[in-house]
Symmetry: C2
Subunit: 441 residues, 2 copies
Amino acid sequence: MRKMRRKGLASMAVQTAETPTNPTTPAVDLGPAAALSCRECGHKVPLGPVFACEECFGPLEISYDFSAYDAEELRKRIEAGPANIWRYAPLLPVPADVATKPNINPGWTKLVKADNLARELGVTGGLYVKDDSGNPTHSFKDRVVAQALEAARAFGFTTLSCSSTGNLAGAVGAAAARAGFRSCVFIPHDLEQGKVVMAAVYGGELVGIEGNYDDVNRFCSELIGDPAGEGWGFVNVNLRPYYAEGSKTLAYEICEQLGWKLPDQLVVPIASGSQLTKIDKGLKELIELGLVEDKPYKIFGAQAEGCSPVSTAFKAGHDVVRPQKPNTIAKSLAIGNPADGPYVLDIARRTGGAVEDVTDEQVVDAIKLLARTEGIFAETAGGVTVGVTKKLIEDGVLDPSLTTVVLNTGDGLKTLDAVAGTGLTATIRPNLDSFREAGLA
Amino acid sequence: MRKMRRKGLASMAVQTAETPTNPTTPAVDLGPAAALSCRECGHKVPLGPVFACEECFGPLEISYDFSAYDAEELRKRIEAGPANIWRYAPLLPVPADVATKPNINPGWTKLVKADNLARELGVTGGLYVKDDSGNPTHSFKDRVVAQALEAARAFGFTTLSCSSTGNLAGAVGAAAARAGFRSCVFIPHDLEQGKVVMAAVYGGELVGIEGNYDDVNRFCSELIGDPAGEGWGFVNVNLRPYYAEGSKTLAYEICEQLGWKLPDQLVVPIASGSQLTKIDKGLKELIELGLVEDKPYKIFGAQAEGCSPVSTAFKAGHDVVRPQKPNTIAKSLAIGNPADGPYVLDIARRTGGAVEDVTDEQVVDAIKLLARTEGIFAETAGGVTVGVTKKLIEDGVLDPSLTTVVLNTGDGLKTLDAVAGTGLTATIRPNLDSFREAGLA
């Protein structure tokens, strides 16, 4: 058991009772999803609530059958689809009629042309902010939860659960409520009040765990192996392969919103690293499907200095990521032992990108910079990406003459403490004399 | 001056220096907007930053020239437009190229089919929630501010300003930042912390006024008449006729999202009453333009008991609204002297609707009900509309067999205090024993 635990999620690799036996004929209808495939050894298993390879304990991911698609027809089908992630149903592990089922239908958030920010940062090639605060519970987590929910439905689960740093808790609570699932969410007991209330208000179980996010995650893995966890779909554990695919929709939307073009550079936050790896997967799929022209793109990863295991490994030239104990205001990125860290390193190096980190002070400055220039109030994670973008430009690593997309994955209202110092610039009595006395005239 | 003040906003009726003289040839390009027209006496003046009739001090509103439109062509043009309010540019006081200018581009928010809530309330005819928490700063105010900003640009103003109960402050701060205006926002000094920080983070002036919203509003009217207010566009005072038109987009979107059909019943919150009157205006325009079939609809107004001047007048059969001193948790609706109150009474009576109010306790219950059933976390104003809907059904006033649309105009994260009692359902140590001890297994 010790040895398996070192492999992380691999310890609870396969729940065979739920798994059909023939990998070529999935028993569940999840659209183009054909099988689960090991990212390490390529071993394939049928679609089911499993997340680690039975052969090598590597992480499983969805493999698809896209062979029937014609690029032009597919593009038209997508463009005629709903203004949410289900427009990309042909590219996701969901049934074709997914848009008719009760779900929170996230996505198709704004890609904001950030001309004011571009001027301040000296970007001349076009700067965009993909603003996922527009999702139903105001973070990108709605994308992955909506996916996991469809898998949970397909596998007959009745409870939707997760470990969470906060944003995910709200997304799971909301999605479960809409879709008629019971929810039970596990969070570190000391989260920001806004995230706690936002998760609790949906009426599901909300359980505080005395420990940090890694402790919460370990506990959930234990619960899955226990009879008490039967019928439970943990969106980011036993449903992780499905869940993770939701991040591909960020890549799809960015390209479609750019007029079916790849950006030259993307700056993506790193928590577990899953989002960044799936954005890369999504971009590669669009190229392979002929929906965008094949050209090089660079992916940059962004971390907070107080939780920068991937950035540290990148700078040291390492292939493995050494866990850290998180200590940063960017709690939604505070995963000290990021499961996809090594894949992030691969992608940053392969595409010519980089991984960088910024201090908490730089995070706060970047939140204010984005708000002041573009009217977008970002969560601390958005401060991390904007701050890292600034730093990478100053260091000559990010090319300001190229088209650049920066992700904001959450909402400033959930991390008000970070900017609590901002407030009234003056307090006056309701008359012109008082207005003048305050120097406002 | 006393007498004029009793007419409310009329005291600062006309700023002649900014106003062109020929009502048939507007000097500014605001698309189909032809003139300003008095809602009381019909007197017309050219488009300008004026808000009250020079003849009778009645409120001015935009009159349009829609004569060139063909219904089918217009419908296609709208459907081909952007996924925001500018798809309706042909029906708004904005230039045709509005979508290319820097603005926050709100709208096209979700119309959620609320089947779970319908079951709980016994609605069989189809229940929908128009969820405006999906706007850029998470309230419907982004719609009206985006409109006012275009008017401010057309009139050459350089400062964007407002009096606000909170939501508007954030919307003005964000829009001004994006569009490159200076902003100076006036709010009651004791607002919810979330709204204060959200307004302050955009970097403009944020001035607390020692008084309630009505005091803030009065002060702004004074400032407009003073040289200190020159070049200032107060979105909800001297730009009010343009600003108010933004609410029409709620009507347009609801009908388009229902497949170009009118709903049978709408439940709309009342603060100043402007939103409700403009929704009615929008619905009537769609009928007149032939974009929807002409059939009866009923509009219901919703207030909190602690600020229910319109509801009180409706129940008493009065035509005038007697001001109240607000005392409710629904601060975004806490306007004790609602400018459009009499028009709201007219509309509720003419359409066969009603105006009702609920207690703060019912507001909180309704917030939780909506969250638990639909995964939508509403601001207190959303608790008011859902609570009033429930009450109207129970009282047999709202017909549950008809298609009903309930508005949620804001976001629960901005009024966390209202549901602060919700939180963790349990706190455990990270192991299965502790999980079982807590009765969670």
